[in-house]
Amino acid sequence: MTVEANTSAIGMASEPSSAFRPILEWVARRAEPVAISFGAILIGLALFSVFIVVIGKSPITLFQLMYTGGFGSWFSIQNSLSRAAPLLLTALCVALPARLGLVIIGGEGAVVLGGVAAAAVALPFVGTLPALLVLLVMAAAAMIVGGIWIGLAGFLRHYRGVNETISSLLLAYIAIALMNQFVEGPLRDPASLNKPSTAPLPADYMLGKIPGMDVHWGLAIGIVACIVSWVLIEVTSYGFAARIAGGNVRAAQIQGLPVGRLIVGFTAIAGSFAGLAGMIEVAAVQGSANASLAAGYGYTGILVAFLARHNPLAIIPVAILLGGIDASGGLIQRRMGLPDATVLVLQGTLFVVILLFETFYGRFKIFNPDLWKRNP
């Protein structure tokens, strides 16, 4: 495969005039991640189709329903966008530390505690402060708590050598226990009987909808967060330093870069985004903090970040795509009699195949920009 691609590519390279070379070079550089990701998604969908056929259902019907449920109408698009909002933020929680070579999988903990913190600080101010101010206080509290939580994993990594993947995961379980304690104990609204919750946020203190859409402001916040993260990584010197430290810690230390501060800073920023996702879940969806906060957004965010190859801008379409798959789950369940876990199987299959396809990077010479630079 690689050899054939190589020879045919050279054959093509000699044809275009030199004016096109820079364009081809640019395309070759950009095309590799796109082509490999699409190849992986196609293979993943094919494998999933085989599974559906084995179960005795039609994959074509399933994909049609998935499209209808996720993107087939304005209503379903808005539903998908609403579901994408928390995924944007939890994916950033994975993508930012990944620039430093850290694998953080405990974003769920920051989501949960961010939500609890937001609910806890909002209630004393309701009625005394204007809604916008209360929402800002909520967001700040959620971001601080989430930032501390994931920042702790970064701190332990650098200053104690504790593996961040495992510590962030343990912290997520601890966070869920803390949430249950708060929601069942000191913060519990006595009126919440079957489902222990904090006191509900009055409707006029909730995060509203984006004008003209049935989607809450969380989507806009998430997209802005992705753009800010992109600027942070790609434009600022802070992001450049992080990329150096991610590539080679020793080189970064020799250059005098503050590796410890970079690691703690990046994990804290990442955690504050996941905390913000918790606040949005409370202020725009649930109206109070309760066990529904641990809905798995933190874990789906891992998938989104890996699919987007930790690129904050690529997170936006991937999160919307996965939000759409998520949103179509109910329709598939009703129309085809398949369990709600169908979506989980699809996500898992795609995730595995896409990671496996990492191995193809750099193997196809057609994507090598140098090939297009060479004179015939």
Binding site: V103, I105, L156, H158, Y159, R160, G161, V162, N163, T165, I166, S167, L169, L170, L171, Y173, I174, A177, L178, N180, Q181, E184, G185, Y299, I302, L303, F306, L338, P339, D340, A341, T342, V343, L344, V345, L346, Q347, G348, T349, F351, V352, L355, L356, E358, T359, Y361, G362
Partner: protein
Amino acid sequence: MDESGIGIWGVPLAILAGAIRVSTPFIFVSLGETITERSGRINLGLEGTLVFGAMTAYAVAVMSGSAWLGVLAAMGTGAVFGLVHGWICKWPKVNDIAIGIAMMQFGLGMAFFLGKPFIKPVAPHLPSIPLGGWSSLPQVQAALNINVLFLIGALLAVALWWAFKNTRVGLILRVVGDSTDAARAMGIDPDRIRLLATAAGGSLAAVGGAYLSLYYPGSWNEGISSGQGLMAVALVIFARWNPIGCFLAALLFGGAGALGPALQSVGVTQGYYLFYAAPYVLTLAILIATSSPTRSLAGAPGALSVTK
């Protein structure tokens, strides 16, 4: 005799009973992960393997009427999951930690998907041995009602400890885990050893799952595991890749997990939910205490990505 009959002694007894009852899945998953990690690869996907094993064991036990057939079937599927993980990880540039997370999601998804019809039916349970027959106290009897898998796990820990030290297979595994180059120089194919070690680890993790669905709590549902498979990964580090250490650490974890319910049974309800966090806090505290930013962990296989 009622609860108050043994008063405050009920707490340590309940913790002991809980330790024995809760630790078995930890024993199997951590022993499996020890085999895998000793070969130089980490499998974070054991959580998915555990849950899929629990579902397989339950489904096969329901259909065949034999709990042991369920355990065997679980081992088979666990080995398949391990083989898939091992095969994917042998490719260059593939991150074994990320693949573990992906396999975990895949395993959970498949288990929930295929396990839907088995939430209602009742499967035969695994047998247990009443070692507490000498006592007239029902609490003691209940505490010492020990499942066969727990005993198998204890024996397996000793056997593995011995095998790592004294057998050719154990030596090959350790060499592969410590240095890929040294293994190649000895004429060993590291990829094949790691593939087999991952498969063995997966089949043991699935036995842990079978214990969950066929003995304690003893039914199949989607919330059957609260991260036991993942905790086991931390537990292996804590146990320093030593099988006997894994067994003792699993008992400690089980005991920590039983603390909350034990205290609640004698009327301590303050901070009840915080006790659920006890095993996680304990693991984290031990990791912090024993890690160091400058040297790798004592006893860690050299080729292992998680400790670098």
